[in-house]
């Protein structure tokens, strides 16, 4: 079913909106949540929370692309759940690994002098990502937006794990330099 038809179902307050969303995007959202939570039950709950949130937000919202809209909601629920459930660097899954990797982009993790406005940081990261090459940008988003394991990114992009790891490593280094230049870390 087309996205617009699914959104119509939400606007009509039809129960079928949820079943059709789950049918088309259930596995996709579950994978996003699982990559972060590393737990099937948590992932399932994040997906259910996502459907509930989507139900509450439509109407008024009318997202044109459901994949990013739902993925964004799922990702945030999963990160919140991860924060609640896991002490830092504990537990399995991709989240602790991704956080470790992103730590490299930060010169001083606890420096009050570098209090960063979230919006300013978001704009800087978005601008940075837009300046990357296609390959760098896709690998970066796959790893740090979707938290997909390196092995799977390599397979999906048709390159070796070595290349993916190297590209990600160098992109993180670039991000670190960029954030420093912007005075954000």
């Amino acid at each position: 079913m087309e996205d617009s038809a699914i959104v119509d179902l939400y606007w009509q307050r039809s129960d079928r909106a949820i079943s059709e969303t789950d049918r088309k995007y259930g596995r996709y959202c579950h994978t996003i949540a699982y990559n972060i939570c590393a737990d099937n039950e948590d992932a399932e709950e994040c997906v259910n929370d996502t459907w509930f949130s989507a139900w509450n937000s439509m109407p008024d919202k009318r997202p044109s692309i459901l994949s990013t809209f739902l993925g964004y909601i799922t990702r945030n629920f999963a990160i919140d759940r991860f924060k609640l459930k896991n002490a830092r660097k504990r537990g399995g899954g991709e989240m602790p690994l991704a956080l470790d990797e992103l730590e490299e982009c930060i010169s001083s993790p606890v420096d009050p002098a570098h209090e960063v406005e979230q919006k300013e940081l978001e704009s800087a990261v978005d601008a940075f990502v837009r300046g990357l090459s296609d390959t760098e940008r896709r690998m970066f988003i796959a790893r740090y937006w979707f938290l997909i394991p390196v092995a799977e990114i390599s397979e999906r992009m048709g390159c070796s794990q070595s290349k993916t790891k190297t590209t990600l490593y160098r992109t993180r280094n670039k991000l670190r330099t960029y954030l420093q230049e912007e005075g954000l870390c």
């Binding site: 982009c105 997909i148 048709g158 070595s162």
Partner: protein, 406 residues
């Protein structure tokens, strides 16, 4: 305060078009890694040329589709050129002009790359519409949503591997690459692809021959999940799935589903071939200098399998994980391994340099390089045919324990 979680949250605000581009290119909605292709255009051309040449030859002498496929696979993997003895071709029916009428599963070839056992099988008869793969997995027929799936079962395990070649609703054939798949537990729950459990039964559609109505699949079996001393059994069947929703009243829908076995292609049984592996350890590791740091590093050795080489290196500053030091050593090691080759007894050689994947927390740094033909595609080598390895400007003879002072 900027911490990594804050940064991760900020990444979540990246523009929608960039995220959408990634979803599209990486086929994330399909929950299926896309076949290697972006950087493999040259390899594809070479492969297609080789296949055409083999096809022409095969047709000329009247080989069966099974024999033709075996020859194509051997050519694509350079089995002849590299004398790969870990590759096993099985006895297959000879020339047969008629399209088979009975469902048939034919085991063509297997090889063991040290991590996976790969098995190639032919399936027939497969009608054109059954062979199509497409990003759209369903088609509307008389009010019913219809789709097909090939179910694979390995070793009598109750877990199923499902593959979906389908119509795309426009009467067009989709790309002949990876088909979508999912793994289902015996209780019906999906196993996420991110688990290793889900990765060990990769099945890829290789090609389809409409004349003989035969489709070729490539199956991967993760060796650590099976007993290499016991035969592997592979079963395959084709299923029809139907679903429709009937509206009785406002917000009252009745969803009907129906699954039907279209046909079973039977099963094949085979033994996992012995792997090929060679370990190099330098008694006196070759030393290289990092002029930028004024320090030295050394090459400890390498592990070579039929599909890849893993270099083991270390350096004096391996404990220093700072950005500047790490980057300096990455560039240095990249440079040291550039030009490294595996040299075969027949005088041919294969590049095997690789790049540092990431800084290490241990004293050893691992650099993985997959064997490729001129850097444009995967290939399999016969490890037993290796004569020497060249690295950092010097050539060291094999076998495995090497004194670099020789």
């Amino acid at each position: 305060m900027l911490d990594s979680i804050t940064l991760l949250c900020a990444v979540g605000e990246i523009g929608e078009e960039s995220v959408l581009d990634t979803i599209r290119v990486l086929h994330l909605l399909n929950d299926q890694p896309h076949q290697r292709h972006t950087s493999r255009k040259i390899w594809r051309i070479v492969l297609i040329a080789a296949i055409i040449a083999v096809l022409l030859t095969a047709c000329a002498v009247g080989y069966s589709i099974h024999q033709r496929r075996q020859q194509e696979l051997r050519a694509a993997h350079e089995v002849e050129a590299k004398h790969v003895d870990a590759w096993v071709d099985y006895e297959v029916p000879g020339f047969a002009a008629a399209v088979p009428t009975e469902p048939t599963l034919t085991l063509l070839s297997t090889y063991n790359d040290g991590v996976f056992c790969w098995a190639f099988v032919n399936v027939s008869p497969v009608e054109d519409e059954e062979a199509v793969t497409s990003v759209d997995q369903e088609v509307l027929e008389n009010g019913w949503v219809h789709w097909l799936s090939y179910h694979f079962m390995l070793g009598g395990d109750e877990s199923l591997y499902s593959a979906y070649p389908v119509w795309n609703g426009k009467g067009e054939y989709g790309p002949e690459d990876l088909i979508s798949n999912e793994l289902v537990n015996s209780d019906g729950r999906l196993i996420p692809r991110v688990t290793r459990e889900a990765q060990h039964r990769e099945v890829k559609k290789q090609c389809y021959d409409p004349a003989s109505k035969t489709m070729t699949f490539k199956c991967a079996i993760l060796l650590e999940w099976v007993d290499p001393d016991k035969p592997i059994t592979l079963e395959l069947s084709l299923w029809d799935h139907w679903q429709r929703s009937e509206k009785h009243a406002v917000n009252d829908y009745d969803i009907q589903t129906q699954d039907e076995l279209r046909r079973s292609f039977g099963m094949v049984t085979f033994n996992i071939p012995a792997p090929q592996f060679c370990t190099i350890r330098f008694n006196n590791p070759p030393v290289f200098a990092n002029d930028e740091r004024g320090k030295t590093g050394s090459i400890l050795g390498a592990d070579i399998s039929a599909t890849q080489i893993v270099w083991h290196l270390t350096h004096e500053e391996w404990e220093d994980e700072s950005f500047e030091v790490s980057l300096s050593w990455i560039n240095c090691i990249d440079s040291v391994l550039q030009g490294a080759t595996l040299n075969f007894a027949d005088g041919t050689s294969l590049p095997c340099g690789g790049s540092v994947a990431a800084p290490t927390v241990n004293s050893e740094i691992e650099v993985v390089s997959y064997h490729t033909m001129d850097g444009v595609g995967p290939t399999v080598i016969d490890v037993h045919e290796l004569a020497s390895v060249t690295v950092a400007g010097k050539t060291y003879p094999l076998p495995s324990i090497i004194d670099s002072q020789n």
